[in-house]
């Protein structure tokens, strides 16, 4: 199983705060990582640093065995993608056009999107439940539909490593699970995902690994079984978290 992302001694500082201290992380193909932490703990910064959008204070980042600094943006985009929390749309654009942008890193300067690219994009739009939305303006979409469009763009890009920043925001319960299921299916092949989540139970159900980010910048990484304990979680969220077993599955809740 090959490594998609590796960090060595990654330290991230923003303003005067150390958000993350000496993080050593290895993400392999087929793994799904959930990042949990309080608001403002630095979850988004962590993802941005993985993606090369922000610079760490110290430490190394390797994307598929190569130092991120040695790769061009285009090469990075062929290896990892990031679903942002929010993308602005100051200009009119259709849903199909927007999702089709996922093909951008694979097209050469003079190449135009082929019929294949369009067919692939249409298929992905169908997967995320935006089948009849091709010609709709992005500005006319609801918050949840926009999230699904952002996911579609990422799935069209389909890089080996997919980073997601709170993908389930604005989604109703049905689509929350549909989206996480879709991601789960995707990682059965050669992909891996790292996603910021708010719901511990989502992490427990859909992730194989978890990264807990504490207030003081320390972190805890490992398999969900090892990391997602009520002690650790209570410390992360600074609130009493308990576990309840229903039908043989553990559910976490705050008291």
């Amino acid at each position: 199983m090959s490594q998609l992302l590796q960090t060595r001694g990654l330290t991230i500082k923003k303003g005067n705060r150390i958000l993350c201290q000496k993080l050593n992380l290895t993400v392999n193909q087929g793994e799904r990582w959930g990042i949990l932490g309080k608001n403002g703990a630095g979850k988004t910064s962590l993802l941005y640093t993985f993606a090369g959008l922000e610079l760490p204070l110290h430490g190394e980042r390797l994307i598929m065995q190569d130092h991120i600094e040695s790769l061009s943006r285009r090469e990075i985009a062929q290896r990892l993608g990031l679903m942002l929390q929010d993308t602005p749309d100051p200009f009119p654009a259709t849903v199909l056009q927007t999702a089709l942008m996922g093909r951008h890193p694979y097209l050469s300067r003079w190449q135009w999107e082929s019929q294949n690219d369009i067919n692939l994009t249409r298929a992905v739009l169908e997967q995320v439940g935006l089948k009849e939305f091709d010609a709709r303006q992005v500005s006319s979409l609801s918050g949840g539909e926009r999230r699904r469009l952002a996911l579609a763009t990422l799935l069209v890009q389909s890089p080996p490593l997919m980073l997601l920043d709170e993908p389930t925001n604005h989604l109703d319960l049905h689509y929350q699970h549909a989206m996480l299921n879709l991601l789960q299916q995707h990682t059965k092949k050669e992909h891996a995902i790292i996603t910021v989540l708010h719901d511990i139970n989502h992490a427990a159900k859909y992730c194989t690994h978890a990264l807990l980010l504490f207030d003081d910048g320390t972190s805890l990484t490992g398999s969900c079984q090892a990391v997602l304990t009520t002690d650790h979680l209570s410390k992360v969220f600074n609130t009493q978290i308990k576990k309840h077993c229903i039908d043989g599955k553990d559910y976490f809740y705050a008291t």
């Binding site: 941005y48 993606a51 090369g52 959008l53 061009s72 943006r73 285009r74 090469e75 990075i76 985009a77 062929q78 993608g81 990031l82 942002l84 993308t87 602005p88 749309d89 100051p90 200009f91 009119p92 654009a93 259709t94 056009q97 927007t98 942008m101 996922g102 951008h104 890193p105 097209l107 300067r109 003079w110 135009w112 500005s139 890009q157």
Partner: protein, 325 residues
């Protein structure tokens, strides 16, 4: 969309008709047969002279200036991710005009005026972007405010320069400032710059589409945003400066044209850029024709006509922008 494919040929046709209309109207109306004969089989006559020596340079200048401004406006709008951006509104034309006027005042000519105008445009861009970007992310409203205030500042400097200029230069300077195409002499260099700028930015059009979705999204999709934005910055300044040298500061073409083209359903920059060049050329030729004929024999500065078109649109866009943040 079908209209996307049809649009470019349609715009070429419109450009051609605008060209003929512009050449045929004036103090002495001419028929299109006269024009075509003079252009393709020039015989020494007073009609031929009128067309080739007087009207043709002015018409071509209007076409080039319109195209320069429309392309510059389209590029600036991606750069700031805001459909309200325009070389005139952001004070880029103003900065460029100040430097060009200073060069004129110093008695310099030709290339000196061009390069001063370019430096002025570049400086004005740096100023407005630097002041807005200093605190992190773009805020469209702050950018516009900064641009408008700086434009007012450039306006004050222009007034100062006009005040201290000798009387014999004054009328010419004033007309040039308000947008006047009658002094244009450097059509060839304007054409070369328009062409070069276009050759540089058209291959980047797909990157521009992605950049429209924000800097981070573009980076993640493989665009080297820093280099791209720097390049846009230079090309937009160069195009604006060339337009200013050509015809003074003509406002709102860079605002109206991209908006019009988006209204027609074209949002892909691979179509939008050539469409903007064609439509900008047509619009300014027609506006110039109006400015020559509306109050003939009195000639109006063409900037007045474009402002009449642009200001209502700007206000409308601002209103709409406020409603859907």
């Amino acid at each position: 969309m079908i209209s996307t494919r049809l649009l470019l040929p349609l715009l070429v046709l419109i450009l051609f008709f605008s060209f003929i209309i512009s050449l045929s109207s004036g103090s002495m109306p001419l028929s299109s047969t006269d024009i075509i004969r003079s252009l393709f089989h020039p015989l020494p006559s007073s009609t031929t002279h009128l067309i080739l020596e007087l009207r043709l340079p002015r018409t071509i200048s209007a076409m080039l200036t319109g195209a320069l401004l429309a392309v510059a406006g389209s590029l600036m709008q991606v750069l700031v991710r805001n459909p309200l951006a325009d070389p005139y509104v952001l004070g880029i034309s103003g900065g460029s005009a100040v430097m060009a006027l200073l060069a004129m005042l110093a008695g310099l000519g030709g290339l000196w005026i061009t390069s001063s105008a370019f430096l002025g445009a570049l400086f004005a861009m740096l100023l407005v972007f630097g002041l807005t970007h200093a605190r992190g992310s773009w805020n469209p409203m702050r950018l516009l405010l900064t641009g408008v205030v700086l434009a007012a500042g450039w306006g004050a400097m222009i007034n100062f320069i006009l005040t201290i200029s000798p009387d014999q230069n004054l009328r010419g300077m004033l007309f040039w400032l308000m947008g006047d195409l009658s002094y244009s002499e450097s059509n060839t260099s304007a054409a070369v710059i328009l062409f070069t700028g276009f050759i540089f930015c058209w291959p980047l059009a797909r990157d521009l589409n992605v950049l429209n979705r924000g800097e981070q999204q573009a980076s993640v999709l493989g665009v080297d945003t820093q280099r791209l934005q720097l390049l846009l910055f230079f090309i937009a300044s160069l195009l604006t400066a060339t337009a200013v040298v050509q015809a003074g500061s003509i406002g709102f073409i860079g605002l109206v044209i991209p908006h019009l083209i988006r209204l027609l359903g074209v949002t892909d920059y691979r179509y939008l850029l050539p469409a903007a060049a064609l439509a900008g050329g047509s619009l300014l030729m027609l506006a110039d024709t109006l400015s020559r004929t509306l109050l003939a024999p009195q000639q109006l500065p063409v900037g007045i006509i474009t402002a009449l078109l642009g200001i209502p649109l700007f206000l409308y866009l601002l209103q709409r922008g406020n409603r859907t943040p």
